[in-house]
Amino acid sequence: VKALSQLRAFVARLRFVPGRRRLLDEVTKELESHVELLAARYVSSGMAPDEARLAARRQIGNTTRVREEVYTMNSIDWLGGLAYDVRYAYRLLTKNPGFSVAAIATLALGIGATTSIFSILYSVLLKPLPYKDPERIYSAEIIVPERREQLPSLPASVQAYLAWRDARSDFSEMAALDRGSAISPAMPRA
C-alpha cells in the first residue's frame, strides 16, 4: 500500500514537471509580494521603511532555499541528468565527425545485417507455414536403417511417391515437390 501511494505521489508530481520554470517564477513573485506586504505592515505599525524591509526579509527567511526547494520538488533528478547526458553526447559527436560517422555506420550496418538475417531465418525456419493446421503437415523421406550411418535419409523417389499415394496411409493427402522448382499438385485420394 505504501509503494502504491508512493507511486501515485510520483505520478502526481510528474504533472508539475513541465511547468516547473513557470511555477518557480510564480513562487518568486509570491515571495516578493510577501516581503512587500510584510514590510508595509511593519511601516504602518511605525517602523522606518528600511528597517521594515529588513525585518520582513528576516521573517520570511531564506527565499533562495525555498525557491530551490520548490524547483527540485517539481523536477525529476534522472530526467535532468538524462538531458545533460544527451547534450554531452551530441557535443562529443559533433566535435569528432569522422569517428561519429564510422561509429554510426558500424551500428547501422550491424543492425541492418542482423535484421535482414533474422527476417530470412524467420521466414524460412520459424514462421509457421501459411496453411491451416501447419503442425499436421509432414515431409516424408526414405530411411534405410542399415545405411543410416552414411546416409541419414534419402529423398523420396517418384515411384515411392506414387506407391505411397495409392496405398492406405494415415495421411489425408499427399503431394510431391521437386527441390523448389515444380510442385506436382496435391491429389485428393479418391
Binding site: 502526481a12 515571495l31 509580494s33 520570511i60 525555498v66 520538488m73
Partner: protein, 130 residues
C-alpha cells in the same frame, strides 16, 4: 518543536537519505496550512502566514517562506488547488483552496495527530508520577 526542524527533515527525505519516524514532524506545517484553508476558505500565502501567526499568538517562529514550500507540496498531493486572483488591495495573488481529497486528508491527519499527542501526553504523565 519548530518548523525549521520539520522542514529540514523533509529535505533529507526528498533526497532519499532519511526515512521513517518523521512523518509527524514533516506534516506539521502542511497540517496547519490545510486547517487554515479549511477554516478560512481560499487564501494567498501571505494570508496563510498571517493566520498562523494570529492563531499561534506569536509563540511559533515560522520562516514564512516555508509556507510556499508547503503549498507546493500540498498541490502536488492534490490536496489544494491554486488559481490567480486579485487580492483586497488590487494586487495579483495566487489563491489556494482546499480540495475534497485535501479535506479527507485533513480529517485523517487530525486524527493521527490527536492520537500521537494523546500517547505523548499519557507518557509524560506517567513519567511525572513515577
Amino acid at each position: 518543536l519548530t518548523f525549521q526542524r520539520s522542514f529540514g527533515y523533509f529535505y533529507a527525505m526528498a533526497k532519499g537519505t532519511h526515512s521513517g519516524k518523521i512523518d509527524v514532524l514533516q506534516g506539521t506545517l502542511d497540517l496547519m496550512v490545510l486547517t487554515t484553508l479549511e477554516s478560512m476558505g481560499p487564501l494567498h500565502g501571505y494570508g496563510i502566514a498571517r493566520r498562523i501567526e494570529q492563531i499561534s499568538e506569536a509563540t511559533l517562529r515560522l520562516n514564512e517562506g516555508t509556507v510556499y514550500t508547503s503549498l507546493m507540496r500540498l498541490q502536488q498531493r492534490g490536496w489544494i488547488s491554486a488559481t490567480w486572483g486579485t487580492s483586497e488591495n488590487n494586487r495579483k495573488a495566487k489563491y489556494y483552496a482546499i480540495t475534497r481529497s485535501g479535506r479527507r486528508q485533513l480529517t485523517a491527519e487530525t486524527q493521527h495527530w490527536e492520537r500521537i499527542a494523546g500517547v505523548i501526553t499519557r507518557l509524560l504523565r506517567t513519567v511525572q508520577q513515577s
